[in-house]
């Protein structure tokens, strides 16, 4: 089997299959969460990334342990790829004592310093100044590590994102700004919130490169990310990668998303990052039926185990409702 040659950053067949595994694991995790929230087992705080998985996988694949990620609320997959087990992530969603925040908050509001994961607040875009701070320390310590800062096209309009991009540019900080443009900021379509077509255009105003890419093509995302990461590691400063994509579900699992048409959704489903990549791998003769079954079974097993772990985990101790406030 030939390895991929047409890209600058080459991937072995094993790596391509690993990418497929991650795409499938993240998809399966979000699909299961969608069911669990409807069953009332998970209370809320579920922001599905279904349809956007290629961005998470394409940007995180190949990151070093010391590299830092500052994900947005939809990027549960980044936690998995950076090394948090599916069980712990599921327990976090269940608000169990074994979750990252021990039940203090839902979703991705908790981080893991030793794995280079920052957990943001609900204030979208507020993670980007923190990303700049993390990147500043890499610069001060003369390390070759990078920080990936994720935000949506909605958060692109916050002051924090502007301030962070500007500061990162001034000091050539090793940040890769990843804009997940899924067209809707909750219900408001992009044309109602900005007068330009590409968020990527804003990078030029700060003094660094911005590129708009197909966010549903995991290899395109990977190539763009690797280029930006290499520049950041070399001390050449930040890059903005705008990934055009679409979320299949509503803003949260509680949002029926009446503000968009069935035709629009169907069109984007035809650009499913998983289907596209699977077809590609088959075309390249990297993927066989046996391997596909093997991956699917592994994913189902891991999600089942994660749910079991969360279900069997204890609730937080009520005595800890007002602890861990101060160090």
């Amino acid at each position: 089997m030939a390895s991929i040659k047409r890209y600058k950053f080459k991937l072995s067949n094993e790596q391509l299959l690993e990418i497929l595994y991650w795409l499938k694991l993240i998809r399966a995790f979000d699909e299961r969460l969608s069911v669990l929230v409807r069953q009332g087992r998970v209370r809320s705080g579920v922001y599905s990334s279904i349809g956007q998985e290629a961005i998470v996988v394409g940007t995180c694949f190949g990151l070093e342990k010391e590299d830092y990620i500052c994900p947005l609320h939809r990027d549960l997959g980044t936690f998995l790829m950076k090394g948090v087990s599916p069980g712990v992530m599921m327990a976090q969603m269940y608000a169990k004592a074994t979750g990252l925040s021990k039940g203090r908050d839902s979703a991705l509001h908790s981080g893991v310093p030793e794995l280079g994961i920052f957990g943001n607040t609900s204030m979208l875009g507020a993670n980007t100044p923190v990303a700049a701070g993390l990147a500043l320390t890499f610069k001060l310590e003369q390390r070759r590590n990078v920080v990936l800062a994720y935000f949506g096209e909605g958060a692109a309009n916050t002051g924090d994102v502007h301030e962070a991009m500007n500061v990162a540019a001034v000091h050539k900080l090793p940040v890769v700004f990843v804009c997940e443009n899924n067209i809707y900021a909750y219900s408001v379509p992009i044309e109602k919130s900005m007068a330009i077509e590409d968020v990527a255009d804003r990078a030029e105003a700060y003094g660094f490169d911005g590129v708009a890419i197909n966010g549903n093509d995991v290899l395109a995302v990977y190539q763009a990310a690797q280029g930006a990461i290499a520049r950041a590691r070399a001390g050449d400063g930040p890059t903005l990668i705008e990934c055009k994509t679409y979320r299949w579900h509503g803003h949260s699992e509680h949002d029926p998303a009446f503000y968009r048409t069935d035709e629009e959704l169907a069109m984007w489903k035809s650009r499913d990052p998983l289907t596209t990549f699977t077809t590609y791998l088959r075309h390249r003769q990297v993927l066989t039926d046996e391997i596909l079954i093997e991956i699917d079974q592994r994913v189902i097993r891991e999600i089942d185990e994660a749910v079991a772990f969360a279900e069997n985990s204890p609730d937080p101790d009520p005595s800890e409702a007002a602890t861990d406030l101060l160090a």
Binding site: G99, L100, S101, K102, R104, D105, H109, S110, G111, V112, P113, F118, G119, T121, S122, M123, A126, T128, P129, V130, A131, A132, G133, L134, A135, L136, T137, F138, K139, L140, G159, D160, E163, A164, N166, V167, V170, A322, T323, D324, L325, L326, A327
Partner: protein, 327 residues
Amino acid sequence: MAREITYLDAIREALREEMRRDPQVFVLGEDVGAYGGAFGITKGLQEEFGEYRCLDMPISESCIIGVSVGASLRGFRPVAEMQFGDFITCGFDQIVNQAATLRYRYGGRVACPIVVRAPVGGNVAGGLYHSQNPESWFVHRPGLKVVAPSTAWDAKGLLKAAIRDNNPVIYLEHKYLYRRAKGPVPEGDEVVPIGQAAVRREGSDITLVTYAAMVMASLEAAERLSKEGVEVEVIDLRTLSPWDKGAVLASLEKTNRLAVVHEDVKTLGLGAEISATVMEERFEHLDAPVMRVTYPDSHCPFSAVLERENLPNADKIADALRKLAAY
């Protein structure tokens, strides 16, 4: 060895000593670099420690604090300067939602050792946006510590304590005291512990609880009352969160009368909290209602005539103390 220096110089001395002691300590803010800060606090620090340990930042308060949070996550101890305490509103989210919640939402697995220095207070011809006293906003939020020194000694010792503390500390430095509060300051490494009030004057008739610039005015009023035969015990809180309840209650048990004086506005100021606490825990010790001498619920006007009308001073405090003694 202690020698007499100003409050302003004491702050700079604490910064310099801490930066020499610990290479992870760095300063960032607007104009803090070659210019030395709007008040000259950071003068000479960039020269000694280089561009990145005394870092000029754009007018981006939110980013200044967000960068500090990010740096703290990688073991640094940033000291962020808000040019004026009034500007802290532009970084409010990064303080109350980001820094203050970090440890809680991480399940206690992380600390956030940042200091936000904020020059506060009126009586300096500052007008609406250069005179405010924002302490109650931060005292009201869990996950933060708030200190407000009144002497040069404490300005140094409390800043050292704040920098070494593993929590976000809001360090409120009163502009009126910068050059007026001159006094003995130890040359050595003396830390003033956070959470401990200081008795500035002993007395057996009335307990007066105050802090920051109002300590001076309160001591002056206490001297006047002493000539009238009323001995006022003046307690300087020094730390506003967590405030030293033990010291206040112990003094009240001796005097049975309590006055609270602060430059912050009356409604939901520290006086309200202290008064309510005393009511809950030492009701039987009160021989008179708790009295508050505070700023009215007003903005800080620019005109000297108007500002004088609003500011608490020794006359107003003495009047209240006489009423309290006569009750």
